[in-house]
Symmetry: C2
Subunit: 325 residues, 2 copies
């Protein structure tokens, strides 16, 4: 189990290590959305995504317990970098299992933080089996990307900051849109807001075709999706919600929203133009829903996570080529 | 005259209106520079550049004095947006004189903040004469881009924040590189640091071919340059240092540095990749010097201003196309 108090403990562990990221806004985005929009710029977090929060909390807790001999993780790239940097700081060997089609920027950056990268084929190989074998082989602890109480509590520190920053702007109620893969960030934020700003309601936002969380929420139980295609929103492509995250989601989340790749690219271009921040497609998912799906949202302000900015130049150039002026 | 106390007054005026921008860093940039590099991300300021600080301080002071009937300013685009937004908030009509070759993003954004834009031809028309005529015609106050005590004091608030943020990181001495046009930001920062972190020495950084501040510092008196070419670092193309800024510069600045356009583009790409912020060429000038001219700098950490991020997509795409991996 994981709760509000665990997030407070995580906040103490992260102090001086993770950044307190700004909550940004721009009148031009408000005009597009037809309501106030606030953007939690987690792309400015260390390693370029919120994932450093959960990775640091998990690994710092292992170190406190004397259990951090070596670490294995699997990730398309953001959790990879978070784990790699946390391990580099603690001088712990890290091995990261990445899909062979992960963005090159993410692979290079993960190696840059000193981790060994091992590839697997998304289509033909069993990621979890390989990760387990690696962990046994290296006598290492496996650090899950989302379905872990320490990881969820670490991501929840983002929610504590959002609560404080939103109230400073006078936001006491509204919609909190979170880019959602397995639900680590969204469930952590929901646990923080439940206590601190209960009328700011979390709704998960997923890529079109990868709406396992939305489908599970609608069904009232965990559902897996069978993807018929792929998506450039690579950071949040998951088959099903987590065993730990889903009960939190079911209790606290509103209905899920779904964003096509084209809208994620448009949101990237608008964040570039008006906020001067760099988002990756899967980090722009929530902003896209805020800007282009206002009819599906309750009245009032919207807060969104801009979860990450680790993107290859060619994909970013594609977003810039869209005319958003 | 303008001094430290004026900057403190400006800070009070800006509280709740301007943003306190973050001081960012990344180990990958430290590795390139061979020393710690800290980046004051003024691109995240309202209107996408530091210019909102000085514009707000000048216009708020006019309002306090009951002298703000209408405003005229001339600018290639960042001061334009700062003045336009400050006037929009105060509901004061603003007219901005812009060169006809100003970046489209800057023209559009300035109009978006409700200002009227009037164009002039850089080659054939006298900007100052046109601005004066406009001010007379509209019974308006002219708000200068840098050579004004209130504007300098407003920009100096950036220096107060740098002092506090640098000390939080343990930086008590080193080099402060500032993107420099007429010297408003650099002289304001120098006045703040003189009191708060006197061993952090300001050095101005200018585009190659537009090194009027460096030449004036070397000569010990104001010198004008006759540009033989142009530069994409449009935000900081000035013919000579200001009458008010130069005595401050002469007393407090170290020697100037000069950056070619290609290096500004490379710095933009690296800030995109490792800091996840959007810089325009003239906002990346100081970072370029920190990264690529380390041999010209005293030992120790470097703090740089990332002064603005208002750039056309095509120029940004050109930066991204450089291989910085």
């Amino acid at each position: 189990m994981v709760g509000y108090d665990d997030i407070r403990v995580a906040q103490d562990r992260l102090a001086g290590h993770a950044r307190i990221t700004p909550l940004l806004d721009a009148p031009q985005l408000d005009a597009i959305a037809g309501r106030p929009v606030f953007v939690k710029a987690e792309c400015l977090q260390r390693t370029g995504s919120f994932k450093f929060r959960g990775a640091w909390n998990r690994i710092a807790a292992l170190v406190e317990a004397g259990e951090a001999g070596a670490v294995v993780a699997s990730s398309s790239g953001n959790h990879a970098q978070g784990v790699a940097l946390a391990c580099q700081i603690y001088r712990i060997p890290a091995t990261i299992l990445m899909p062979s089609d992960a963005p090159r920027a993410k692979v290079d950056a993960t190696r840059g933080y000193g981790a060994e990268v091992v590839f697997y084929d998304r289509e033909t190989e069993d990621r979890d089996a390989i990760a387990e074998a690696l962990a046994v082989d290296r006598n290492a602890v496996f650090v899950p990307p989302y379905d872990d109480p320490f990881v969820i509590a670490g991501q929840g520190t983002c929610g504590l900051e959002i609560a404080e920053q939103a109230r400073e702007r006078g936001v006491e109620a509204g919609t909190m849109l979170v880019c959602c893969g397995g639900g680590g960030l969204s469930s952590g934020i929901a646990l923080a807001l439940e206590r601190d700003v209960p009328s700011l309601r979390v709704r998960p936002v997923e890529p079109a075709g990868f709406d396992d969380m939305a489908a599970s929420l609608a069904a009232g139980e965990r559902r897996a999706i069978v993807p018929g295609s792929t998506s450039i929103q690579d950071a949040i492509l998951t088959p099903s919600p987590g065993r730990i995250t889903f009960p939190i989601a079911r209790r606290l989340f509103g209905p899920g929203l779904v964003v096509p790749d084209e809208d994620a690219l448009r949101a990237m271009a608008l964040a570039w133009r008006w906020l001067k921040i760099v988002l990756e497609p899967g980090g722009a998912t929530a902003l896209a829903a805020a800007l282009f799906q206002g009819e599906s949202l309750a009245d009032g302000p919207v807060v969104v996570t801009a979860s990450g900015g680790n993107v290859d130049p060619a994909v970013f150039a594609r977003a810039l080529s869209l005319d958003t002026a």
